[in-house]
């Protein structure tokens, strides 16, 4: 699941998959702006067949948090 998750982030933000770690966030990934965040949400929802609510979307502040939120869903 982690690989799948990293892969989605790498595609959406156009970064090398090896550079993604628990601390990855909008601060460390230049393409991770609010619009790309939307793309991330949509891509994750399709990939893992889940749906996020507003609060969850706002809490996805870095890779580790995304992983945690996603883990609670699947």
């Amino acid at each position: 699941m982690e690989n799948k998750l990293k892969n989605v982030l790498s595609i959406v933000f156009n970064v090398d998959i090896n550079k993604i770690n628990n601390e990855s966030s909008p601060d460390s990934i230049p393409n991770w702006d609010s619009l790309a965040h939307m793309n991330l949400v949509v891509a994750l929802e399709e990939e893992f067949d889940v749906e996020f609510n507003d609060d969850e979307i706002n809490e996805m502040l870095n890779y580790a948090l995304i992983k945690e939120i996603l883990n609670n869903k699947i």
Binding site: I11, V12, S34, L35, M38, V42, A43, D54
Partner: protein, 580 residues
Amino acid sequence: MKKLAYSELLSEHKNLQKSFDKSNTYNIGVISNTIVNQFKEIIEYNLLINNIYSKVTLGDYDNIVQDSIKFKEYDLVVIFWDICNIIDGFQYEIELYDNKTIDEVINKIKNEINLVFKNLSKSSLVIFNSFSDLSFSSLDIQKNKLNYLKDNLNTFLENNLPENFKLINIEKIFCKIGLDNSFDYRFFYSSKSLYSIEFYKSYTLHISPLILAVKGKSKKALIFDCDNTLWKGILGEDGFNGIEMSKHSKNGKIFHEIQKIAITLNKKGILLGLCSKNNQSDVDEVIKNHPGMLLNDDVLTIKKVNWIDKASNLLEISKELNIGLDSIVFIDDSSFEINLIKEQLPDIITIQVPVKLYNYPKLLRENVSLFHNLSYSNEDLQKSKMYKEQVIRNSEKNNFNSIEDYLSSLQLKIKVYDNEKSIIPRMSQMTQKTNQFNLTTKRYTEKDIENFIDDSSFNILSWSVDDKFGENGITGLCIINLLLDKKIAIIDTYLMSCRIIGRNIEFSIMDYIIDSLKKIGINKVSASFIETAKNSQVKDFYKKNSFIQSTKTKNQINFELLIDNYTYHYINYIKIENGK
């Protein structure tokens, strides 16, 4: 593209982009008053798979008029102008506005639209989405203020649209995928981004024929296989009389529709052709003499009817017509042939006739946009002509003082068919479905009808009715039992579809029947009315045709007519002829 997940699409998009020559970039500017960023990769990807390298530049958020100046040199400008964001919260605020304020808003937008028209007047192509209120409208019976504003603006657009603008009815896409799948309200409230990924995909597929046409990538020729593609059946096995493509037969009507769609395309300049494994002389015979065959040599530009493999034939077609393989669409019912072409000539678009035949016309129609061409003047002309006809039809109804005048203007024509085997299914269907104009309501299977036809003591008449506006198909049936030795005829069944009631057809037919019975020496006709819950309108039918009531039971009235006592109706505005 539809099946591709969003992340797959993004990664495919990136991969494909690398391998393209970027010197011939197609520049697209997108202007919007909401956030539509996700549209960028989706349309770029779709054009890439059509061999077009494009670059989408997104305008500033909610800056439509200024952006229209910025993008005026672009190859294509797409405008998303959403009324829900004309003013923040507009979708609910508007209902509290008074009419004067709404009219002021409308005028303000119209002025802005005019500015956009002016700024982009020299652009090569502008796609302007019609205004829609469906994202925030309750589907209420009563018109609300948002509806009013939308209708008003769309009318303005239609009446003032410059020639280089194409108006896209965005609600067609909502219809196709459903309102709930079209919007993502989460992102509307957080980021003013209204549409879902699914919407962008469908929207892209909807508008891409326009771009393909500009880039000279529209399809130019539609090539048909014959057996089970243009007609039902296999000519080599079922024979000339065994294949079906008549509007009046169960299977044939599908193929009739297909041929009509093909002819419509031909009228717009699309080339039609055949590529079929058959004896050429057999197929030529069908083209020349089969009554159901609509595609004739006037519309068929090319025919490859032989026993050579279809890939070679299609290559020949491409050479002889001097068009690229990627300009050809090929239709066949056989998965073998379809796969052969997919493998050997992947540039040709193939369509396989679906097993569920009733989906065939729909499938072909869905692919019609492949042939889109920009010089729409011809079609526009036709469209306006059609509207005109409709207007005439309606106004004629109003213009005539009496219904007789109206009927006589219709140029009604009845074609009568005698014991016609090819329409047995339709005849059986009519006995089973017709309730109102049906004197005896006897239900017959196809086998029953066939037995009547084979039995020389029965005569089955059926008829179609045409008027100057078109054909109505086989819509009436009469089964007569002939007792020739007693010179008596018994009308077993007399029915007509409600589609043609009210035109005095039934009286013309009765004249015709009596006449033909006279000719074979009948001097007495008996008939009956069997009452059901639905057929009271024909209770007096035989009385109106000179019959005299003889006996009566609880739900049945029997009538008799001495044929010499029959009074002809002689309806002069109905032409009647033998269908053969």
